[in-house]
């Protein structure tokens, strides 16, 4: 049987990818950011998931305004890194897990989550920066990835509660998959940041730390945070945090925090990172 072995959350700032790709990770500005992921790099070698369900958002790379799916499940065999306007990131092609993805699509739609199925999609920094942070710069990614793209570009994104419940449905779907696979669910994006307008640069550490606490111990309360509260408190782009709730929903009611890291800034953004394991019900 497939089994969810844990969850990981991380910001996915494009400048982090640029720092990795340009060999600047040891510069004083970046060193504390990357040091924060040393634990994850070791941890992932210990737990060795076979598949990641990687929740992220596209940033006008694969999806323009022509098509705006709220939830898009990547069912392809592979996903090429997107050219975001300055050439694709020099990272390996992302290898999918089409059989499990097809199982997820079927289960989730019958479980009332009407996902969009995507059989061809380039993946941008939202997906590849988290992989780079945790797996470094391998010749090939040592894990298969099922991308789950969430619209957070055009308001409104799906509600936090919807995301939490989708995560729970993912857990049910994974549990019903007959093949022995170790599955990890990653939620990416956030934390507080605003990239636009005169309020750009907003960072709300208090909100971010409280969100991590609630996510771990009171996920229903985290899921009840309204969109307007995210916008006001965590910035217009901080609302990406709804994606962390999908990861959380895929875990048991009780979780154990294995790792927490928080750092300001990476470019315009507060970097947050969690690793959670199931602690039983």
């Amino acid at each position: 049987m497939a089994k969810i072995i844990g969850g990981l959350a991380t910001s996915h700032v494009p400048a982090i990818g640029a720092a990795i790709d340009n060999g600047r990770t040891t510069e004083p500005y970046w060193q504390p950011v990357f040091a924060g992921y040393d634990f994850a790099k070791h941890y992932i070698q210990q737990v060795r998931p076979d598949v990641l369900i990687l929740v992220y958002n596209d940033h006008a790379s694969a999806f323009s305004l022509e098509l705006i799916p709220t939830f898009a499940l990547g069912c392809a065999a592979e996903f090429v890194p997107a050219d975001e306007g300055w050439g694709p990131r020099p990272v390996p092609t992302v290898i999918g897990e089409p059989e499990l993805a097809a199982h997820l699509a079927q289960c989730l739609i019958l479980d009332e989550f009407d996902l969009t199925i995507v059989n061809q999609m380039a993946v941008d920094h939202g997906l590849t920066v988290p992989l780079s942070l945790v797996y470094g710069q391998p010749q090939a990614w040592p894990v298969k990835v099922i991308p789950l793209a969430v619209n957070v570009v055009q308001y409104p994104p799906p509600l936090g509660r919807r995301c939490l419940n989708l995560g729970r449905a993912i857990a049910r779907a994974v549990a019903s998959y007959p093949q022995d696979l170790k599955v990890m669910v990653w939620g990416t994006g956030g934390m507080s940041h605003q990239l636009q307008g005169p309020r750009a640069g907003l960072i709300n550490k208090e909100f971010d730390l409280r969100f991590m606490d609630l996510l771990e111990h009171e996920p229903e309360a985290a899921a009840a945070i309204s969109h307007v509260e995210f916008l006001r408190e965590s910035g217009s782009e901080g609302i990406e945090l709804v994606m962390w709730l999908i990861m959380r929903g895929a875990l048991d009611r009780k979780v154990r925090e294995v790792r927490r890291f928080y750092h300001v800034p990476a470019s315009n953004t507060a970097v947050g990172h969690l690793i959670l394991e199931n602690a039983g019900n």
Binding site: P14, A15, H59, A60, S61, S64, L65, E66, D83, E84, G85, W86, V153, Q154, Y155, P156, S192, Q194, L195, Q196, G197, P198, R199, A200, G201, L202, I203, N204, K205, E206, F207, H227, V228, L231, R232, E233, G235, S236, E237, V264, P265, S267, N268, A270
Partner: protein, 132 residues
């Protein structure tokens, strides 16, 4: 005619909702076209002529030509689409964020290093007054 929204009074913030997406459709799709190198070349060669190919309003063309980033946001631009334009110009997110806040990039970067812009006084006028 925009309907009032509960996020309208967040200071210095324009939420890219369905109505603004409709308003900014061609402005954003123009930006999207700059993902292709050949389009970037044509745009740089004659910006005004390139913009004429898109059914945008004159006001939208003007804010693009003058790189009035807040103006583009006000006319339906979304920052992730505008990123294609400022990348074409060779600018970073932090550069444009600084411009939009009316500060130098150096000053803005210092603010970020010092922990970013505080939410205090930047939530909205009554700062969740109703919460007591």
């Amino acid at each position: 005619m925009r309907e009032p929204q509960p996020y309208d009074d967040i200071p210095g913030t324009t939420v890219f909702d369905a109505e603004r997406s409709r308003q900014g459709y061609y402005l954003n799709q123009f930006c999207m076209s700059l993902m292709k190198a050949e389009n970037r070349t044509r745009f740089k060669a004659d910006e005004a002529a390139y913009l004429k190919e898109w059914p945008m309003s004159e006001a939208q063309r003007e804010v693009v030509l003058t790189r009035d980033w807040n103006g583009m946001i006000a006319l339906g631009g979304n920052i992730y689409f505008l990123a294609k334009l400022f990348s074409t110009d060779g600018h970073s997110f932090q550069h444009v964020a600084a411009v939009m806040t009316g500060s130098s990039q150096e000053h803005y970067a210092k603010m970020m290093l010092a922990g970013g812009r505080t939410p205090v006084g930047n939530r909205f006028t009554s700062e969740w007054k109703s919460r007591g």
